[in-house]
Amino acid sequence: MKKLPEIVFISILLLFLSLSVSAKPVDAEYLYGSLKSRIYQIQVIDVASDKKSSIGSGFMISEKGLIATNYHVISGVIHSPEKYRIEYLDYEGRKGNLELVDIDIVHDLAIVHGDLDDIPPLEISVQKMSKGAHIYSLGNPHDLGMTIIEGTYNGLLEKSLYEKILFSGALNPGMSGGPALDNKGKVIGVNVSTAGNDLSFLVPARYLSELLQNLKDSSEPVDFTERVEQQLFNNQQEYMGKLLKNEWGSMNLGGLVLPAELDDYFKCWGKTDENKDQLYNHSYSACSSPDSIYISSDFDTGEIDFRYDWFDADKLNTLQFYTRYSSKFEGSFSTNSATKEDVTNYKCNTGFVSLQDKDWKVALCARNYKDFTRLYDLSLTMALVSEYDRGIVINLNASGIAKDMLFQFVRRFMGDIDWQN
């Protein structure tokens, strides 16, 4: 009888030990070894030269041969299907063709299909995680071979229009589209971008899960240009609609009350010139939304930014002041580097507009997206012209918005300019 408690104690201890062994977090070596067969290098092949023109990573997400990757990895195939095709390269060096199945351009995701039946897919996890958890990212950086990187989960970006996981680990070009895994080997995100110095970003796995669930019948041919346009259009309707309903933050500059943080994710900063040889005073403030949507290598959209340049004549006479002031009105800036393949030239309407009993010279310009004709880039430049010794130039740019949203946004923005009492 005496031995019973000891036996029970030993049994409990053994059980606890065995449990703790099975629950022990898997290490990178184990994860890589067990999952490498489900990770691929995704290659976009230039048809003319039969050589790869860009690379990324991808991973199996269904038994039917579906592989997830980033939209930006395979975007060349959407814009120039006649010039490019997609291939996979597995860990043993086997190659095969892939076909594009669906995309989510807003969250930079794509699903491709290859003849890769019977490969077990990676499991997707949409469970919440705690900050500080170890996570692992896989991919093929700089075409150097499949790599696993250990890092830390640091939650979702707090001020961001589009949800992204902050991953403290070193993602590198070529790893885009690869999976980020928890310690059970489940996909919690997709590698998407990096800001350098171990600051990397992942697309939360729930967007991949949604894309996978909403996959349409693959027998129907998909017009991906139309799909991109629809997704961009719906997205801007959603966030512009929300912006227009928001109570906007404001800032004071030179006696004016001006729109500032239009939403939580807007960031504003300011500066005053310190040049002692300057005979006038100049301060500026600028605000922007940090998020943009990748369309092609030189074409991003979905950004909003605005800048206020305040001038005070100080020691300049009116003519000198206006020469300096005028040069700022000429210098409209555009953050979008779209080319003539992507957009038309800007078309403008200029005129004098009266706001709160003060007159402004306004240039309202828009250019159309050639492939996505319901979308426009907006450029609004306005300068206060009713004062002799002071003035402000306002520049507002918004990319990828529909006509109605464009005019409503301009109306609201101009309407929110006021003078301090």
């Binding site: 040049n275 206006y322 020469t323 009105f329």
Partner: protein, 312 residues
Amino acid sequence: MAELILEIQDNSRRNRYYYPVESFPVKIGRGYGNDVIISDPYVCPEHLVIEKDDQGWIVRDLDSKNGIENNDATTIRPESGDSLLIGHTRIRLFKPDHPVKPTQSLHEKHNIAGFFVGLAITATILVLLGAGYFIELYFSTSVKIQTDKLIVGSLPVMGGVLVWAGFWSLLTYIVKRKLFFYFQLIVSSIYILLTIVTENLVSYLAYNIKSVFVIESLSYISGGLLFAVLLYFNMKKALSLPRKRQWLMANLFSWGLIGVSLFVVITNQSEFNSKPEYSSVIKPPFSRWVKAEDVDTFIQNSEKIIYFEHKD
């Protein structure tokens, strides 16, 4: 004593011949039977005849092929000092007592006082031009600049004007053996000052006008016209061509130059412009005559900026 002195200048205007006429009529032409024979292929064998009556000289065109330039009439009554252009030859008619310029001193060329007077005139003109350009620079600066730097900034323009006037003076000297340097200097300086004034006027217009095309056109037209006027006056002293021909040549050259520069600009201009292009001039409140609209009217008028352009 001769009753009429004919001064014949050939096409080059470098050679002058004088024929004292003692009896009338005087027949002038290319033929050898004339009283005055002119070797100019554009002059008829019997081109004109000069007669005399109680009222003075009478010039009659002898039904010549090219007539007497700038004169449709077949009969002219010239005064002493008047000139007739037949073909490429200029004929001036003088009475024997026609006044002549005072005699120049053989030593005048070395007159130091004269040299300094000339220098002073040149300097005054250049200073006036520099002052104009200085004002322009002064109103376009917005940082602390020493006055001497502004003056240095005006020097290239003064230098440019000197070179231009010098070129035309040299040309005048080759053709006419006269310099007319001050004339060329004044004309060139006025041109620069007028260009500054015109550019400013166009920019004030641009502040009120919406169309970039209209503004650019105005800028080119005013530039072309001013340059044509400059060339006309430059040529007026340098060459002895009829006014109409001078004006035509000046315009041809000026507009030709504008045409070539426009061609270069247009051919080098990219079809695609990543920046918006609009009338971007701002001027002080006193220079505006266009009324401000309310926001809604402006936005309504802006509907035109929305257009489709499908990819080829």
